[in-house]
Amino acid sequence: MLMESYSLGEAVELSAIGRKLKKLWQEGEGAMARASLINLALYSEKPGSLKRNTQLIAKITEDHACRALVIGANPSSKENRVEAWINAHCHLGRSGGKQVCSEQISFLLEGPCVKFLPSIVFSHLDSDLPLYLWWQDEFPKTMDPQLWAWVDRVIFDSQTWKKFSEQMGRVETAQREAKQRIVLCDLNWTRIDKIRYALAQFFDHPASHHHFSKMQSASVDFAPGFKSTAILLIGWLAAQLKWKTNQQTMNGSCRFLDANNRKIDIELRERPGHPIGEVAIESSEIEFRIAPACGDLLEVSRSGGNETAKPQMMPAQGNDPLDLMTQELLRGGPHNIYLRAVNSVRSLL
């Protein structure tokens, strides 16, 4: 019986992958179903990434059945080396009884052959299913346009980028080359998903709408290394509420102008802790506040005016790659709002 495994599995010749996969299923015993909704390709040049990503895929496939193509690359090597493995990740289905299995094909590419990445990926796709490419490194200056022609969603984490504008430029170029078909999925944006949700719910009731035009200031705490995450959050507020950048002060804080040219001061504070810590928005009457609580929850409250704070708990977004990917794969959609948010704070990123 196929069982959950964190190993790369069986080593196979590149040309024999299809045949060996078929054999893998033929030899499987017991109640078992192969499932796949997407092709999920992971690309990393970091040493040891194949094993780390195999563990990740083992977990991701619990919620998202896919054909995983895990690629570990070392383009700087002088010698060409190509190795491949096949494996399956099996989990007991929700209704019990039957094992639900996802395939993983792993590749180790070294040397100049890394440039053949598109042909390696394309020849092992599960047909008719979308291709999600999770690019775990910085994007190189030149990328094979062939690759983008087939990718439906490209997943990356801008929090790890050293130069945001340069990297974003490359992604946007790729997107243009693919005639805007590729959806850009930034895990740094996924990181603030639950915070955005918590902030949005404050303003659902019609009686809260007037606060939009009375906002005076906002503050966002962020952990070291997560300033871009905080700026994306501010970018989202600015884009959705039609604020314009006014000025950036020396200490990293900034000022926006709303549609009526009223000033809104934003304070970004680096504090150890969660990637995004406390977030507060003040209107002339009410303070809306969100803060991490109990590890994976958010405490949300509003206070001021005649109201006393009645904190409530909402789910928070986990920050490890598994949590971020699981959430990202659940979301779908074109992510136009992300691009709007980026554009509104591009100069700050």
Binding site: A33, A65, W236, L241, L297, Q312, M314
Partner: protein, 513 residues
Amino acid sequence: MNRAAEQTEANPLREGLSTRAVPQPCSIVIFGATGDLTHRKLLPALYNLAADGELPPTVTVIGFARRPKSDDDFRKEMEDAVKKFSRQTVRDEIWKNFSQSLFYHQSDFSDESGFKTLAERLDTIDKERGTRGNRLFYFAVGPDQFEPILKHLKTVGLNKAREGSWARVIIEKPFGTDLPSARELNRVVSNSFSEEQTYRIDHFLGKETAQNILVLRFANAIFAPLWNRRYIDHIQITAAETLGVEGRAGYYETAGALRDMVQNHLLQLLCLVAMEAPTDLSADSIRDEKVKVVRSLRHFIADQVAANVVRAQYAEGAINGQPVPAYRKEERVDPKSMTDTFVALQLNIDNWRFWNVPIYMRVGKRLPKSATEISVHFKKAPMVLFNKETNEANVLVIRIQPDEGISLRIQAKMPGTSFRIEPVKMDFHYGTSFGKASPEAYERLLLDAMSGDATLFARRDEVEEAWAFIDAIENAWSAKKNPPELYFYPAGSWGPDEADELLARDGRAWRRL
């Protein structure tokens, strides 16, 4: 513009975060707060919504029942219930927070003063918790309790919302026992709440697969051209359960399978399968199309009932190898009971699309397995090329529960040198393809009611039209002269032979489940 789009326009921060209408802060008053439904379904559903961050933080639940109890007693009781019945593990931090939104209001349903104090309490809650005058009244009680509750709600003015707020009522089935009683019930409800304020819950419509019928039909272009009398031979809808009456004999003796299942759940499923595409996804557009299906049902005249409807009752038998008693031997069941625990019927929809396409329905207790499925049986291909004896039709199956999914049976050539054709099944399982568990039907339906989306709730005309169809059958059954026979089937079988004959006479057979 639909409600979700309107909300996004008013609250731009919502854009892209949610494609559904957002629930509003409100007080939910549950009448019958100590009952089974509250314990098993309502509070677990509300807790799950809170844990998933779907519930507006200020939502407040007020349990209304006769037994004396403090808020803390009620919270403890609900904690036990949620721990027992929730689909996800109860987390102390979330429960602690959620439980502070639970309150108990003790009163008899016939005591007006209890409603006055409820109104005062709701006003206080509005001020203290920011529920903004929005009220959702959930009737988790028998229909005999509706009238006094509705009357008192009206007397104390709780049926009317203040400007900018809303008041809604959710009522549970049975929505009457026949057309006159349904009309009377609707009259009673409409004396206090308008149709727009009334949400008749049918939990089948909250199930993911029931909702997916619309997606399957109207988001997949390949089915639309086939979905008519030219290509469909017949449709079968089966709702089978292994359970017997399980302590519900008191109710079941007065209802039977036809009233308990066919009038509501099965006809609702039929509507989703047979309706025309709505102009949009608004509640009334969808319900307009559904009610047209019920209106198009060919009503039986008395002497057609015996030929088209088979009623039966389970006799002694075995389920999963365990002996089970006959229905008449069940506790609190009349030993001479004529209640139907199984119904099979052939009905017809007299509209352009489905004229002369028979719809076969069967529902029953103590059947070999529990399964609710719809199967669309297409006409056979002209087998001039292949062996005529192997000619099987394509069947599209929509599995509502359990193991939700969709399968399509097609013909395939067996490997070999000859043209031997065998049916094969392409199978989609929700549980296999999507790891994430679907929310419980009550979670979806409660959220919809809080956000004012009545799409998945039955409208008055749907209910009354359904009863008009069912009454013709019930009237024939209760006729003094020559009523159609009540057949018996061994528990653990697929019903009486007469149910098979219903299809066999047309050269058809029930799908093997």
